[in-house]
């Protein structure tokens, strides 16, 4: 009961800046709550979408292969980070499907808009 109360009182780290600070100062003992971890991945995904969109646009990567290329990286990055690079238990974070799914639509839309806008701006 006491443990349950304690767990309920855990103050979650929110906001990209605070999450980044926690990420930077992480160690093997750092405890990630599910929402914190998914938020951390959310911001990482959005950042990658913006960088990849600009990169794809400036380098004039076109067509279905460029699109599929981004989707593959967008799927692979959270899986690789969760499974290999971080010490969290994927099941505690909602499973691999949950980790991929959270924020994916926003990430994809973000990538498309930056890809299209930068491609049009630089090459036309």
């Amino acid at each position: 009961m006491e443990k349950q109360q304690k767990a309920e009182d855990v103050k979650l780290v929110t906001g990209p800046a605070a999450l980044w600070r926690k990420f930077q100062s992480r160690s093997e003992n750092t405890n990630w709550e599910k929402d914190e971890y998914l938020d951390l991945l959310y911001w990482g995904k959005q950042l990658w979408a913006v960088i990849a969109g600009l990169l794809w646009g400036i380098l004039a990567l076109k067509g279905i292969f460029a699109l599929v290329g981004f989707i593959l990286t967008a799927l692979a990055l959270p899986i690789v980070y969760t499974r290999i690079l971080s010490s969290v238990d994927p099941e505690e974070m909602g499973g691999i499907a949950g980790v991929i799914q959270d924020g994916f639509v926003t990430q994809f839309a973000m990538f498309l808009v930056f890809w299209i806008v930068s491609y049009s701006f630089v090459h036309f």
């Binding site: 949950g98 926003t106 498309l112 808009v113 299209i116 806008v117 491609y119």
Partner: protein
């Protein structure tokens, strides 16, 4: 072509304005803050109860506990949705007006070139009001739609106004949470 950048910035402005209105009408109220914290606590309690190991006899009690929390969560989510309806209405009108304004400025103009040929379904948005059959030519609607989808949600999350996880459509628990 710089039209895409203009629409992107315009969408960012609209999203900021819309969130500003939502803040004034809802997010700063005590009632909203209480409900949000209640939902977060209920979600956390639900996770703890679901994760707790128990014997066969305790399973029945556990199921009952889960059912009670689920009911409380559903009520809290629905009440939050009701609160948000007013702001959604204002935001919807604002987005519609701004979209009309953007369309009237760039009507029929090609503002971006797509680096891919969109599928038939997407062409309805991307090639809207544009003559010809070069499907890579893109009008304002598609860029505005994509910007709204990505920037508004991200802005909400940045400002801490995003709905808590586990809140699905119309305040019901999400499919993912129901399966667990």
């Amino acid at each position: 072509m710089y039209g895409g950048i203009f629409v992107l910035l315009f969408s960012l402005f609209t999203a900021s304005l819309s969130e500003g209105i939502s803040y004034v009408l809802i997010y700063r109220t005590e009632n909203y803050k209480q409900k949000k914290s209640q939902i977060e606590k209920l979600n956390q309690r639900m996770r703890i109860v679901k994760e707790a190991a128990c014997t066969m006899e305790q399973q029945v009690v556990k199921k009952k506990k889960i059912a009670v929390i689920e009911q409380e969560l559903q009520q809290a989510n629905q009440s939050m949705m009701m609160m948000k309806t007013k702001s959604h209405l204002f935001s919807g009108i604002l987005v519609f007006l701004m979209n009309s304004l953007v369309n009237s400025i760039w009507e029929g103009a090609v503002i971006a070139k797509l680096p891919f040929v969109p599928i038939k379904f997407v062409r309805g948005f991307s090639h809207r009001n544009i003559l010809g059959e070069d499907w890579t030519e893109c009008g304002t609607t598609f860029i505005y739609l994509l910007s709204s989808m990505s920037l508004r949600v991200t802005l909400q999350k940045l400002l801490g106004f995003a709905p808590p996880r586990g809140q699905g459509l119309m305040g019901m628990p999400s499919m993912q949470d129901q399966q667990r």
